[in-house]
């Protein structure tokens, strides 16, 4: 079974530029999460989708971050414009359904904003 795919793996941009990350969850997984993990901290939920609907985006900085999951499969997360404090690893995770399933994480995208 293929795992959660993410791209790119690394990205370096200047502040005020825009950037986009892509995630393809495990096939059949209805729920998809985007997390931000700042160095030395645990993952923080940015947005959660169930199929193509948003379940929770309460911690997404909506003035600069946006995300979509068209067709309920893969998803993109965009930052525009980026700030220095956005430097972090952006993790995508998915689960198949609610039954005590652990989340499966992708390799992450390490973003550096200069």
């Amino acid at each position: 079974e293929a795992g959660v795919a993410q791209s790119p793996r690394y990205k370096i941009i200047e502040k005020r530029q825009s950037v986009a990350f892509w995630c393809n969850p495990i096939s059949g997984h209805a729920t998809l999460y985007w997390y931000q993990q700042i160095l030395g901290q645990g993952p923080k939920l940015l947005i959660q989708f169930q199929n193509n609907g948003v379940v929770d985006d309460s911690q997404l900085p909506k003035d600069r971050f946006s995300a979509e999951r068209l067709k309920g499969v893969d998803s993109t997360l965009k930052i525009q414009p980026a700030k220095l404090e956005d430097s972090a690893v952006y993790l995508c995770a998915s689960i198949v359904e609610r039954d005590g399933d652990e989340q499966f994480f992708g390799p992450g995208t390490r973003l550096t904003v200069l």
């Binding site: 645990g42 959660q48 609610r98 399933d101 994480f105 992708g106």
Partner: protein, 114 residues
């Protein structure tokens, strides 16, 4: 709001020694997850604990859950260098809309010295 705290935050231990990492959470939850993260890597699921009194073991790691005390432990037996990593616990919180949110702990950075 659900809070998840781990201690210690940093742990340096000699090979062959035993130690326990603690995970406390602030509200009712019946499910707890342990993840491992190697430097520069994503999160790997270790254990899923689904009920009070649950105990799971894999190699030198054993996890347990006491939902009444809102406490989970990750016990390391006869540590070896390969166990050096950061360990996260996570608790899920039911939103009432049929979906769950996962809250991660602060992480415990373990270093096993030869």
């Amino acid at each position: 709001e659900l809070k998840v705290e781990q201690n210690p935050l940093f742990l340096s231990m000699q090979e062959g020694k035993n130690y326990t990492i603690y995970c406390n959470y602030s509200t009712t939850s019946d499910r707890l997850y342990w993840y491992r993260q190697d430097p520069g890597k994503s999160l790997e699921s270790l254990f899923v604990l689904l009920s009070n009194g649950a105990v799971k073991q894999e190699g030198r790691l054993m996890a347990s859950l006491d939902t009444k005390a809102r406490l989970s432990t990750l016990h390391i037996t006869a540590a070896v260098h390969d166990l050096s990593a950061t360990y996260f616990c996570a608790v899920d919180m039911f939103r009432g809309s049929g979906t769950y949110k996962y809250i991660f702990g602060t992480g415990t950075r373990l270093k096993v010295l030869a």
